[in-house]
Symmetry: C2
Subunit: 160 residues, 2 copies
Amino acid sequence: MFMKKLALSAFVVALCTPMAQADTGAAQTLFKAAPQNVAKGSADVFTGDVQVNRLFPANDTAHYSGAYVTFAPGARSAWHEHPAGQHIVVTQGTALTGTRDGKVTRVETGDSVWCPPGVEHWHGATPDAPMTHLVITGVRDGKNAVWKEHVTDAQYRGQP
Amino acid sequence: MFMKKLALSAFVVALCTPMAQADTGAAQTLFKAAPQNVAKGSADVFTGDVQVNRLFPANDTAHYSGAYVTFAPGARSAWHEHPAGQHIVVTQGTALTGTRDGKVTRVETGDSVWCPPGVEHWHGATPDAPMTHLVITGVRDGKNAVWKEHVTDAQYRGQP
């Protein structure tokens, strides 16, 4: 448990460091892709191999951040909800996303999903292929997600 | 001028039709990629060949829409501003974006740009290669962009 907390802390710290190479000298802000923006998803909130690549942070006007998240085959998030909702755009492969009603939905490359506030969901790759999605995650009172328990293999497979 | 207005109207109508295959029966909403979501960019607000592929609309919680926009080599938007700002994520190729200070910035695949409200900018492909970006555009009082004049060849090249 201590190690789990440590791993989660390291993950949160990694995702809370300022984003690399933001050029704020001009009228627009450029966020360069950079290794510092990439972190391994913590085993506390993901099952399997997951990579989080931050694209841009929330700001005072736009209360949402952007990131690519890449899942190895079979990998998925834990159950969670987003206090200000989340959009998912699948950019490579096929995603699965599940809700508490037991429904598991396939989301193909180019499809998008809106998860409203208060809806618990999970998302991840199919069992046989990797998947990348771009997530746009709302922030409310400094929070963008409330994490719950891991998704079981049965839940992942859509079994009751 | 009449034809230009007609073309712009057709473009706006195309982009204002409800998005195809939105499944609102479940806890989450799925927006399927579909030909109905794709429209040619109007010559009133773009130079060159541009394709707009809507991903998801704004909603009551998330006051921004998402779209892929693909530019042929040399193609670019007209000057415009976004009343609630815009994020750009380059997904294929290299983008150029310019501001009224004459600065033209190269934005590579994986880089993001934040354009705050009140900043006039343009964006497009480089002269020699196509480019696709995903735009997340804020909506304020029903408006997501205020369009101005076309970008001249000299402005596009960053010449004074």
